[in-house]
Symmetry: C2
Subunit: 651 residues, 2 copies
């Protein structure tokens, strides 16, 4: 297997200082984490209680009460704790750390003597552990708590949760596996596979890696574990209680052994979490067949099943992928968690192969769907991230009811908000990777990195004007001149990038390797590298196979996808159209949504005032010319409920 097998850099190695992203980091720290802590403690007014902390208190014997919320409610606290850990890694905060320590203390108290941890089963069905692995998320919750434990240990050096989770993992290892007497099964919701890899990474315990590989390798083997389990429990489901049809194995990607899978199917979050673990295992074990499967599944998502915003999952039925080129904008799902997982998967692929396409997708999802899933004030969230909204349809057409025109305070199933928090809090991990003697820059986010290349300490400082402008500068600090490689991604959206080293043009024509410019030379302290990615507002067309976008265009400028909102263009956004030769002006407007680049130009608008009591009539008039304004997609829905569209008809 010829791959780069680059390392993730630890969060402590990277410090973000960026005009655009530092705002989001701060928002997470100052607003989102405290807000979500309140949510987990059922302290948000007029909001469905979470019960997350409550459940741990009851399970720990500190409180009387019933279990509340979803069977996987524990994972919300785990993801919050993981986000806290990332934040502490870059911005120590004694008060926050104490809060986390107390939460960890509570978690550890809720752990059972044998290592088992799950408040649902401990409180509600203590003798039913591992009897409905398909539905009941025990391994999923375990995985999230392991991720939190690893992150917290890495951030603080504190082992309490890590030790507890090792104990849990050791216990799980006695329950699952190929040996007689163990359950030859695997999770109903994949997650622990990637978590066990992280646990292996910090502990060096190969049993964790082997257990992860077992779950991945066993998945989809015949006869089906889930069908046998379903039969054994009498054909009922956790969700309906009554009889349920035979499990749809595609839903949780257990329809085939993973190495035989080529199409992304089923529940999108389960899928990308699994692909992430597959990529981890391919990298760590050098398993070519696993890498091949990862590449096929990557291609199927990124080349056939991904929205322009970086969203995935075309249908709310099962929160799932549907099939190639089926990307409806109005009935879309595009769950926030799914794009978080897509970034995980893309980054694992990037660790193996420095190909631009992986980082392009990370950037696309980050700058559009991910930050768009939260209000500017950090206190409201989308679960579903549509590309077209008609608020009345969301209310009155049941097939579009899952599409909310405004972000919500919290959710009964609130997986997305803490997932978003842990991703943004760990953003520093995604900017760079380090191969033995190469430092790759994947994202253009102002930051500093300290890395070791061929035993030499390197300090690289990046300043960036993205996403508003394409100027990026790097300054290198190192003790003595040294030969090594620096590599930069040239984004897929930029056709005419320029690079200068110490003020001298460095031609890029024919120089790109998989979309990266790699400069391997003797570098000196103080070397300056300037990149320029000229940005224009471009009309983007979708592959004609995407029926939903036929005859339409979207606007993209740099990494940002734009959209048209009622707040700027009046209602009936669908009556707007763009000219194929539209001249679009981009300008920064400090008064709009906290300051953003708006795109304006001449478009067309059907004159609805010329229509009265008719539904259909012969085409007569041209639409009227009209001034149109687009805003970045990630800012939509911050000015009340209204119509929105990413794709508009083109004339």
């Amino acid at each position: 297997m010829q791959t780069m097998a680059a390392n993730t850099v630890s969060l402590q190695q990277v410090r973000i200082q960026d005009a655009f992203w530092s705002k989001y980091e701060t928002l997470i720290r100052d607003t989102v984490l405290p807000y979500q802590w309140k949510a987990l403690n059922d302290e948000l007014p007029d909001t469905e209680p979470s019960y997350a902390i409550h459940n741990f208190q009851v399970a720990a014997g500190l409180k009387e009460g019933e279990f509340g919320g979803m069977v996987f409610q524990d994972s919300d606290l785990a993801k919050w704790l993981e986000a806290v850990a990332y934040s502490l890694a870059t911005h120590p905060d004694a008060a926050l750390e104490q809060l986390a320590d107390e939460a960890i203390d509570l978690i550890v108290r809720a752990q059972q003597p044998d290592g088992y941890l799950n408040t649902y089963f401990t409180i509600k069905e203590p003798d039913k552990r591992w009897t409905n692995i398909q539905d009941c998320h025990e391994l999923y919750c375990a995985g999230h708590m392991m991720e939190a434990a690893v992150a917290y240990y890495q951030a603080t050096g504190k082992r309490a949760l890590l030790d507890a989770m090792c104990k849990f993992a050791d216990y799980i290892d006695t329950v699952f596996g190929p040996e007689a007497g163990k359950i030859q099964g695997y999770p109903g919701h994949q997650e622990i596979e990637l978590a066990l890899v992280k646990l292996y990474h910090v502990t060096g315990e190969t049993r964790y890696l082997q257990l992860s590989a077992y779950f991945i390798n066993q998945r989809g083997q015949s006869p089906s574990f889930f069908i046998e389990e379903w039969t054994q429990r009498g054909g009922v489901s956790h969700w309906s209680k009554g009889p349920t049809p035979k499990p749809d194995l595609k839903y949780n990607q257990s329809h085939l052994p993973v190495r035989e899978q080529s199409e992304a199917v089923g529940h999108a979050v389960r899928a990308v979490y699994m692909y992430t673990a597959m990529a981890d295992l391919a990298r760590l074990t050098g398993d070519q067949s696993l890498l091949d499967a990862c590449r096929r599944l990557w291609d199927d998502i990124s080349k056939r099943q991904m929205y322009i915003t970086g969203g995935i999952g075309s249908t709310h039925h099962g929160e799932a992928f549907s099939f190639a080129y089926d990307l409806p904008n109005d009935t879309v799902y595009a769950e926030t968690c799914a794009s978080v997982g897509l970034i995980f998967f893309a980054f694992r692929m990037l660790q193996m192969e420095a190909k631009r396409e992986y980082a392009d997708v990370i950037e696309r999802a980050l700058y559009n769907l991910i930050i768009g899933s939260m209000t500017l004030d950090g206190q409201r969230y989308f679960y579903v991230n549509p590309l077209e909204v008609w608020p009345e349809a969301s209310e009155k057409n049941p097939g579009r009811r899952h599409v909310r025109p405004v972000r919500q305070k919290w959710f009964g199933c609130s997986c997305c908000p803490p997932n978003l928090a842990r991703l943004i809090a760990s953003l520093g991990q995604y900017i760079y990777t380090v191969d033995k003697r190469t430092l790759y820059t994947h994202l253009f986010i102002g930051s500093e990195i300290r890395a070791t290349l061929d035993d030499v300490e390197v300090h690289l400082k990046q300043t960036s004007l993205l996403p508003w402008d394409g100027q990026v500068q790097f300054t290198l600090s190192l003790a003595a001149p040294k030969c090594f490689a620096l590599a930069w991604r040239i984004p897929g959206w930029c056709a005419n990038a320029q690079l200068q080293v110490n003020g001298e043009a460095y031609p890029l024509d024919g120089q790109l390797q998989n979309g990266y410019v790699i400069i391997d030379r003797v570098w000196q302290n103080g070397d300056r590298i300037e990149l320029n990615f000229p940005m224009t507002a471009q009309l983007i067309q979708a592959n004609p196979q995407i029926r939903a976008d036929a005859g339409k265009v979207a606007i993209q400028r740099g990494p940002l996808v734009y959209c048209f909102e009622e707040a700027d263009n009046g209602d009936l956004i669908a009556a707007l159209a763009l000219s194929r030769k539209a001249e679009l002006q981009a300008r920064f407007d400090a008064s709009v949504l906290g300051g953003t680049v708006v795109i304006e130009g001449e478009g067309w608008r059907e004159d609805v005032s010329a229509w009265h009591d008719e539904l259909y009539r012969p085409i007569t008039q041209q639409p009227k010319p009209v001034h149109i304004r687009a805003i970045p997609y990630h800012l939509w829905g911050n000015r009340g409920s209204g119509e929105m569209a990413v794709w508009l008809p083109v004339q």
Copy 2:
């Protein structure tokens, strides 16, 4: 109330002889009725059994067995029998009549001594009559059997079923009503209301009219009958058995008293059957408030919630209306039965007010959705009638699974095929109406009518080239010159109609009354009236409020809506576009689908071969010019499974 209150002409007064429609009449007679009889007798190979005849045999004590099929399965036989009656009225057929007599004998045997008739309750829950009126369709099945009884009596003069149904109606009248001890309720699925009006019409029994009015007037009063019934039966439903949420009263239009309703909501078939009865009652009782409600509901459907094909019902959730201008083409429902009911409603409105808009909708639904719901061979049917089909999406996107790309042999819920049969078999009823001294022609279907105007026998013969050409001629026969009025609808789709009386031009400018030309004069034997409706293929635009059609056009020529099929244009129909100034040629092609007018011209096609592994990229090329061909919508899906679209992007 100033209305025309025109009479329906009886089927015996009209004989259709039409190049286009006689084919369908014959198909119903020779193929559809025998085919459906086989279906009702469970004799179709490889098809889910109907159980309809079986259930009557069991209920009649002629056979041992269980009840099979839906709780409303009886209605399939009733609708088939009604269709047979209409066929016998115009085309006597001793063998068919004997078959019907035997079926009627079976039905009568299944009737209970007190008049009750319902095979589900008789076989399965004999002591549960009238305990779940919301779900269990007892009154619905009763209504359909009454309609069959009336039609059979009118066609053959035989009273066996009519008497049985009068007995049933008498019994129902003892069960429902305002008096103490009766149920103050109304049907879960409206139907009996319009049937009781028919029963009143042939028997003169005013109790039937009063019972119909009771059901209509009681509906939606507070407290809600259905909520009380649901509480009394312990909050369960017939469908789920388990606990169900409180009934959604909009679903069956019992959310408001009918006179306060202004929006068409809920299950579309229930709605239009109810509106039909409301119009009947408004006409027969002169109830202005009921007429006002009918007009509002008509406007809401025909001006805000109707597809260009005459389909209604925008969502498969509850087979229901959604709201104004929400007319998605891909996730559409547009059930065949709903358009059948829409024609009923439109015709009742037309009986009160000779306004073109009613007949325009009847024509639109008939020529497009109705005949399009059946294969050319009469043996396969659509339940859902989409305006856009992508077979792979129907298979793989759960939100489009209800949209079938090919017509089906039969259905578990097989309401549509016999509904279609009874409508086409009674087509003669919809062509003309007679006011005291005015004979209205609403549809241009070759036929003869014998009517009495002011005590004078009039015979009018119509020949028509529709829908292929707009030439229509009328010849009048009468014993002596006489002053009366003849009226013709000038279709909404024709802007430049011409009329000649005995070869002399009759100017139409400023002469139309609500879209009708009315010539009131002394008519003579042999008078000839020629109408010409020039037809061109027109690009049709939808009201800009219909978001789903934004930036798109459809093609219509005369009453026919056209569509683009994969069989003519290759796959990826969505990659086609039309020019705003497209020159479209219409020509009759005898080789296509049994002979039809195809429409051809130059369009555009996105060059999919220029796309490979990309989902999105800057717009570059113009699409390629391409020869396109459209066929009438009603002929789609007769050449195997493939993509289809009515609306295409316009450049």
